[in-house]
């Protein structure tokens, strides 16, 4: 799982080999831009990032004791980390109990599977978890979640014959609150940015349930539209965090990262397979240093 930065590392190695500083900056920037776009990072965003790196690299002076090349690398590191949502460590602990999470996203992005993965993750952390099946749209959505809940021993609230998703969500949440559940996870139907009725439904669920965290579940293979779509979702119900799914394929996930820029939310988890335990906590700084192949980058950044 290399995500976005597959070929950037090679460009960086070439950069470190030396030669004229300004020329190698230019060349690196050109390659970076191309690789970002090939990895599906939104075109405008890729231009913005590379321009910012270039400007900082050519216009600012490195602090004393740091070479220009080292300085350049820390700039690249910082900007790429920012692309992934910043240098904060994601906080995965619920800030209060009960903690109500609502999953939203496009059709087929992986919400239902991820709902079960999250439930299992938190169950292993020792929390009492409940799942609410508030997708009344997709055929057998309730059965899917029910079967997953049975696999992991987590209770699922659902009303397969009710087609009012808002009322199911509201009742499901009170059902679990009455049973002193710590974390309540609501699965919702897939929808896209042009389906106003469905967006309206999502808004209503969130207004009535008042979730503590709305998570956008987004497929790693999505392209340039991710930005628009995430923005539209964010305007409908503010997105608190992001989960990128299906990173076990060949997709680099750059589209999903456009959602970070569009919402200001962080990637908290990534999905790396269909199985229930194939969910990883995501840590942007560690990820960037690993991908750039620069083990000691954090100490370098500290030195700077």
């Amino acid at each position: 799982m290399l995500m976005v930065f597959d070929n950037i590392r090679n460009a960086l190695t070439r950069f470190l080999k030396g030669g004229d500083y300004e020329k190698s900056v230019e060349e690196f920037i050109r390659e970076l831009q191309k690789e970002l776009v090939r990895a599906d990072v939104n075109l405008k965003l890729a231009v913005e990032i590379t321009n910012r790196i270039k400007e900082r690299a050519l216009k600012s002076e490195p602090p004393p004791g740091i070479s220009r090349r080292e300085w350049f690398i820390t700039i690249v590191y910082e900007e790429l980390t920012r692309l992934l949502g910043g240098d904060k460590k994601p906080s995965i602990k619920p800030l209060k109990k009960p903690w109500v999470i609502m999953l939203v996203g496009l059709q087929g992005s992986g919400k239902t599977t991820t709902a079960a993965k999250l439930a299992y993750f938190y169950k292993l952390e020792g929390y009492k978890v409940g799942l609410v099946a508030a997708d009344t749209f997709r055929p057998a959505a309730y059965t899917q979640l029910k079967q997953l809940g049975e696999q992991i021993g987590v209770q699922v609230y659902g009303e397969p014959d009710n087609n009012d998703a808002v009322s199911i969500a509201v009742k499901g949440v009170s059902f679990f609150i009455e049973r002193r559940t710590d974390i309540i996870i609501i699965d919702t139907a897939g929808r896209h940015h042009k389906e106003e009725d469905l967006l309206d439904e999502m808004r209503k669920i969130s207004e009535q349930v008042k979730p503590d965290e709305v998570i956008l579940v987004i497929d790693a293979s999505i392209g340039q539209q991710a930005h628009n779509i995430a923005k539209k979702f964010h305007e409908t119900t503010p997105i608190g965090s992001i989960i990128v799914t299906k990173l076990d394929g060949t997709a680099k996930g750059g589209g999903a990262l456009s959602a970070v820029a569009a919402t200001g939310a962080m990637v908290k988890f990534i999905g790396t397979g269909e199985k229930i335990d194939e969910l990883e906590v995501f840590n942007p700084p560690r990820f960037v240093s690993r991908i750039l192949g620069l083990g000691d980058i954090e100490s370098l950044v500290e030195k700077v």
Binding site: T112, A140, T143, L148, T250
Partner: protein, 277 residues
């Protein structure tokens, strides 16, 4: 700037606009280098020439492909067997229900085959489609061998006069060796007349990879691009025919049974061009 340099600059801009519409980078580069070649050889002299040449190049991707017509195939081959493949969540199962309705409307007797025995709810999903459409489905047990299920389904269907078999498969990543082997086995057993790759219209550059890998593994005869209602001007159809040289059979434009349309290359190319200007 000379007019040649201006044209080359315009080509670079066009390339980026194509990329902004999710025409895969490799494909956009290919189009750009063809345009550049035409500028160099003098057949493109103005901005108008450029747009004209671009339209021509885009259309050329869709011309000369073997056309596939399920209705005439179904009349000539009894039964017609179709396997649907693709990565996770693209819309295979939904598309099967839509195609089943389409085939029935045209006088055929389709059987849907629920050979996804892996994903939670997959069997029930197709069962519900069956209840809603009245089109029968052949189901099996979770965890059972999908190839064996397909074999049984075909025996069952042949004895009962079904003449179109629509075989659903579990979504899988094209790089997952075990799952790709499983798919090969399904294909060996089903001996399908048509293998349809299903791809989501919102996919970025990975559309190339999906097309390449599935084509190498089992061969792809045509594609269905789904969720086009979310992204009409998206570049995925172009990226797919670039790799596969196989036609786009249908597009999915919503979640209802009626939301399946034949793909119209001319309309599509105009939509891309409008998006660029």
């Amino acid at each position: 700037l000379s007019s040649r340099e201006k044209l080359l600059e315009s080509i670079e801009e066009l390339k980026l606009s194509l990329v902004a519409n999710d025409v895969a980078y490799e494909v956009a580069e290919n189009i750009a280098s063809e345009l550049t070649r035409r500028v160099e050889e003098g057949s493109i002299k103005s901005r108008e020439d450029l747009v004209k040449a671009l339209r021509e190049i885009l259309l050329s991707y869709f011309t000369g492909l073997n056309s596939i017509d399920l209705l005439s195939l179904a009349s000539s081959r009894k039964p017609l067997k179709i396997v649907f493949l693709g990565v996770n969540g693209v819309g295979k199962t939904t598309t099967i229900a839509k195609v089943a309705v389409y085939m029935r409307e045209n006088g055929f007797k389709p059987l849907m085959v629920a050979a996804d025995t892996f994903r939670a709810g997959a069997q029930e999903q197709l069962k519900i489609h069956s209840e809603r459409t009245g089109i029968p489905v052949f189901t099996g047990k979770y965890g059972s061998d999908p190839a064996a299920l397909v074999y049984d389904a075909i025996q069952y269907g042949l004895n009962r006069g079904f003449n179109v078999f629509l075989i659903d498969t579990a979504g899988r990543m094209h790089v997952d060796v075990d799952l790709v082997n499983e798919l090969k086995k399904i294909v060996r057993v089903a001996k399908p007349d048509v293998k349809i790759l299903v791809v989501d219209a919102l996919t970025g550059n990975d559309a190339l990879e999906q097309a390449r890998f599935f084509n190498e593994a089992v061969g792809v005869d045509c594609v269905v691009v789904t969720k086009v209602d979310a992204y009409e001007e998206g570049g995925v159809p172009l990226s797919l025919v670039y790799i596969l040289k196989k036609p786009v059979l249908f597009i999915g434009v919503g979640q209802d049974y009626k939301d399946l349309k034949p793909f119209n290359p001319i309309e599509y190319v105009e939509r891309i061009l409008t998006g660029l200007q």
